[in-house]
Amino acid sequence: MEYKLPFKEYNKALRENRLLGLKCDKCGSITCPPKMACQECGSLDLDKVELSGRGKVVSFTTHYIAPMGRENEVPYTVVLVELEEGPWLLGNLIDLNPSKMSMDLLGKEVTASGRVYPGDMFTNGPISRPVFSLAE
């Protein structure tokens, strides 16, 4: 059985600023990032859907250390967002000064777009990642 939404397709859509997910035919939940089975009920009966990219900040952390090859990105902020369709999505928080970020950010509304991490000798090519900005 093949994935309904493989990494490559999800990755390509995100590069075009479209966030894809999967809707479960059995329980109605949304799974994003994609998996083979529904992350709520385990059903394999899933349909591809486009998500709004809107959500709320659940947590965030600014990295002052970086893995090899990503030193020039420091300081960068990783954020966990609860999407309005339900699932949580990990990405980067951009357009904010890390030194001004506080716990007040939790619950703030954000919107997603896509950005590409070019990859390194260990990745199989570039990886798209969601980047979130505070909603207008």
């Binding site: 990494f7 990032p33 090859g69 991490y117």
Partner: protein, 392 residues
């Protein structure tokens, strides 16, 4: 199933920049474990070795095979286990099953790592391989980052203001260093205070350097055998592995319904408790996976020692100290003892066994009358392995 005993133990010093290779460190710990068991290498029937990043730090796969051959355990099955930071513990869990089933009578367990040889940037990169490379690494998530995210969720969920939580987290590091200083094998034998933690450099906000365990080199080993063999050859106080558990989960975001709890831990420890026929209250001493200060709170609660959101108060009140309700990480934990990831679980077995044999008196860290010990190790986003050790 047969009862499984822990025989001899071996442990190298955990350190920065070990002059030895992984094979040498593992072989030295292993031969000490075999010798302390009153056995020879030819008595070992198989070897179960935790090692995660051997290929990256030295270009060396199958450290198990070469270390066994070096010490004269020639031609036996020698298996490398990989479960990120839980590699050593899952090797022990598997070895227990081989003996309990009756297939083998005497096996070697061990673990080794040499992360500092990579330098911090490559070590950080390779540790990130324990995250989901498709859906997490693109954003640059690291493990301090993973626990930093959990830290904010913890603060918000249990209503503990960040400033207060940070001070309580600092107490975890302070306690670990106090005890680690008395551990001759510990990597960082240095006392620190709350101020040292709160003034250390930022790593991943809100975590600072002194909230984080170091990169480490080192090895640990033990011989496991059937009860029958142990009774015949051992002159030590017997210690048995009476409970084992393991569970896994997916990437962090797909665990959203449970965070900051790691569901896999609750399932894994329940398996171990139920196999051993005990409850959390029966545990006399625990070594848990304190890769980051906040991780200790999260672990101690899921292991059943404290109510959710109450672990910070427990550290504050000294309930995790030697004389406290549940002594935790009296070895110094990952924070002070060090965290050579493949060796960590086996090192936990080493120190719990020492405690249950009452061999920590001289060091001044013996938990009086300790009969039951619990081990908890976490690898990656959610590979959890637990072991219950018992003095009877």
């Amino acid at each position: 199933m047969r009862k499984v005993a822990v025989l001899g133990l071996g442990h190298t010093k955990f350190c920065f920049n070990s002059p030895k290779t992984q094979v040498e460190m593992l072989a030295e710990a292993a031969i000490d474990a075999i010798t302390e068991s009153n056995l020879t290498p030819r008595d070992i029937q198989s070897a179960h070795i935790g090692n995660c990043l051997g290929t990256f730090c030295e270009g060396q796969a199958t450290v198990s095979q070469f270390a066994c051959d070096d010490i004269g355990c020639s031609n036996i099955p020698a298996i490398r286990y990989e479960g990120a930071c839980a590699s050593g513990t899952i090797a022990v869990r598997d070895a227990v099953m081989w003996i309990a089933s009756g297939y083998y009578d005497i096996v070697l367990v061990g673990g080794v790592e040499k992360a500092t040889a990579m330098g911090t940037p490559l070590a950080t990169r390779t540790f990130c391989m324990g995250t989901d490379s498709r859906y997490e690494y693109g954003a640059g998530l690291t493990f301090p980052g993973f626990f930093a995210l959990l830290c904010r969720i913890y603060s918000a969920k249990y209503g503990i203001p960040m400033e207060k939580l940070k001070t309580q987290m600092a107490m975890v590091s302070v306690q670990s260093h106090e005890y680690g200083r008395k551990n001759p094998y510990a990597q960082i034998q240095q006392e620190i205070n709350i101020d040292d933690v709160l003034k250390s450099m930022p790593v991943c906000t809100p975590l600072q350097l002194q909230d984080c365990c170091p990169f480490s080199d080192g090895a640990a080993a033990a011989v496991l055998c059937s009860e029958e063999v142990a009774k015949k050859i051992s002159n030590k106080k017997p210690v048995y592995i009476t409970g084992i558990g393991m569970a896994t989960s997916g990437k962090m975001s797909s665990q959203y319904k449970y965070l900051p709890r790691i569901r896999a831990r609750e399932l894994s420890v329940q398996q171990a408790y139920s196999m051993a026929g005990i409850k959390p209250d029966d545990v006399d001493i625990c070594e848990l996976h304190d890769c980051f200060s906040i991780a200790s709170f999260i672990a101690a609660e899921s292991l059943g020692f404290f109510e959710y959101g109450k672990a910070p108060e427990a550290w504050e009140k000294g309930e995790t100290r030697i004389e406290g309700k549940i002594p935790i990480n009296i070895s110094g934990g990952l924070k002070s003892k060090g965290h050579p990831i493949g060796a960590t679980g086996v090192s936990q077995v080493y120190f719990i066994t020492k405690q249950l044999r009452e061999e920590c008196v001289e060091q001044g860290v013996q938990v009086e009358g300790a009969k039951i010990g619990l081990i908890d190790t976490l690898g990656g986003d959610g590979t959890i392995c637990n072991l219950v050790l018992s003095a009877d």
